[in-house]
Amino acid sequence: MNDAEPLLRLRGIGKNFGPVHALTDINLDIPAGQVTALVGDNGAGKSTLIKTIAGIWEPNRGEILWQGKPVHFRSPKDATNAGIATVYQDLALADNLDIVQNMMLGHELLKAGLLDEIAMEKTAKKTLADLRVTTVRNIRQPVGSLSGGQRQAVAVAKAVQLDARLVIMDEPTAALGVSQTALVLEIIEQLASRGIAVLVISHNLTDVFRVADRIAVLYLGRMVSSGPVGNYDTNSAVHWMTTGTAPNGHIASPQSTEG
């Protein structure tokens, strides 16, 4: 996978809000079928970066290559149409609707002008089965009655439903218990095993090391380090995140993937 063209490649991305440089010269490769963890301290620019990829903000400098071709996402819709799905922390689920209704929201299947509940339920069921989400007892229960991990699962399934090639997840395990976290991490692995690229923002290094194939460290708006997860351990990752510099005596000094 690594020698092929990465699914998404960021080249010298810069973004500023007035005089504030939120992102400076960001280079990052996101390969298909792998989990890339985006880590960094508060205010490092993680949210700004994913919002730039998701089409919410246009970068001021640099270019985004999607499957090797330069793209300009002017709205979240452009990014969605290209195959980039973003699962934000608020998940954007309607608690009063059931799992099927939430997953198909905005993409309902019709039959003779009326909602085709059976076809929609089958579609949703298949997507959940593909992701090995087996803990929901009933696909017709309102999302409001689900646990945090299950809600996260539904939100991811909803994104995957739309043929996403890249799924971006913002703190998917924040505020989840141990078993719920395991459920979400399992889903992330399932996504990657199906050839989908996953970009995860996380504060929890335990989760990162459990699930990530690659790590990218942001520090004050700069990509200070990125590379395969094997190049890091918890101590070195924390050092990169908090100081933006290589830890002393680090064996395989990870370099920026590009440039």
């Binding site: 993409h107 009933n138 194939d213 918890t234």
Partner: protein
Amino acid sequence: MTSVNQEPTPTNTDIITTPDASADLLANSFGDYVRIVGRRIRSGESGALPVIVGLIVIVVFFYAKNSLFLSAGNLVNLMAQSAFIITLGMAEIFVLLLGDIDLAAGYTAACGAVIALWMLALGDPWWAAVLVALAATAAYGALQGIITAKLGLPSFVVTLAGLLGLSGLLLYLINATGNIGVGGVISLHNGVINDIENGYLNPTATWIVMIAIAVVAGLAIFYGDFRRRTAGLVAPPVSVTLLKIAGVAIAALVVAAIANQNRGRLIVVEGMPWSVLVVLAILFIWTVLLGRTRFGRYVYAIGGNAEAARRAGISIVRIRTLAFMLCGLTAGMTGIIYASYLGSISNGVNGGQNVLNGVAAAVIGGTSLFGGRGRMLHAVIGGLVVGVIYNGLALLGLSAAAQLMWTALVLLAAVIVDRVTRRGSAA
């Protein structure tokens, strides 16, 4: 991969859902079904059950006070009396589901009635009068919707302005009719419109229509559950399907049996009022619209989480405008039913009180004021509760003052019961 922290992976078996989903979809057997329903009631997901129990209690109370209350004549009267409260409740449900409210709907109804009766007085055919009145009220509803949705204003304020404006328009319109609206009253002289509330199907037709409704509804329920079952999807147990069908059939036959009793004193009066059929027809169409179309799904989605709906690509402005338009349209229908009930329309119509009765009907029936939760059927159940109170207290010879205060108490009780039972599930 250097995994630094090797924790034991927890099992997923301990992940369970806390509140239950609908018993319809979880139960494997009838006993299961009863157990789940019981659990749901205890955890606050009681649905329409408390209201129906409340309705029965009120009915028993009035019957104990005056046995005439359950006479065929009074029950048919009750059906006719409740019709406009029910339809106004249905109008409100469209906007209540979004978390909005339409305070003007009572006067929208009155103005629609004035337009229809004015045209009838000028000699236009009844269908033209109805069409123009409904078009006007729907257009007015859409206007309120556009203002609310486009400018992001609270519907409470926009429709409060509508309430004031339309109560003025009502006076203006009746004045403008000149010698048609003498003394501020336009009389209704059209047979068809008059028959909505004052005409009856003959007993044979009553039986045929109600049996047909029972059969069609029964088949629809059976076919729907059967398809789910054969497709291997979650479906209620067969016994529950049969129970639902039996419930619909019994309700239809009881209404027909009551309506077909002779309730005249000097001459024979029997058969079901047309208003029952009109209400059932509106109930059916609006239920399909809310439950089986994209529009309906989007209304619930916006009421549940507007941001989620927006991100799913749903145009909130469009759906809200449509919902307000349908509210106006249904209010127009209410106006015509109301005029048929009164035999006239006057400039003294209390549109403010009517609309609040409509909202009360929807809320008593179980529709949430905060959006996302509710069904058209709630307006029927709640409208009957409001109708029963007005009818029963009038039968006991109590004044309008008592009627209003009792309705207030029941509304309050409904909201408190809703809140208390729901608190159990909030944790």
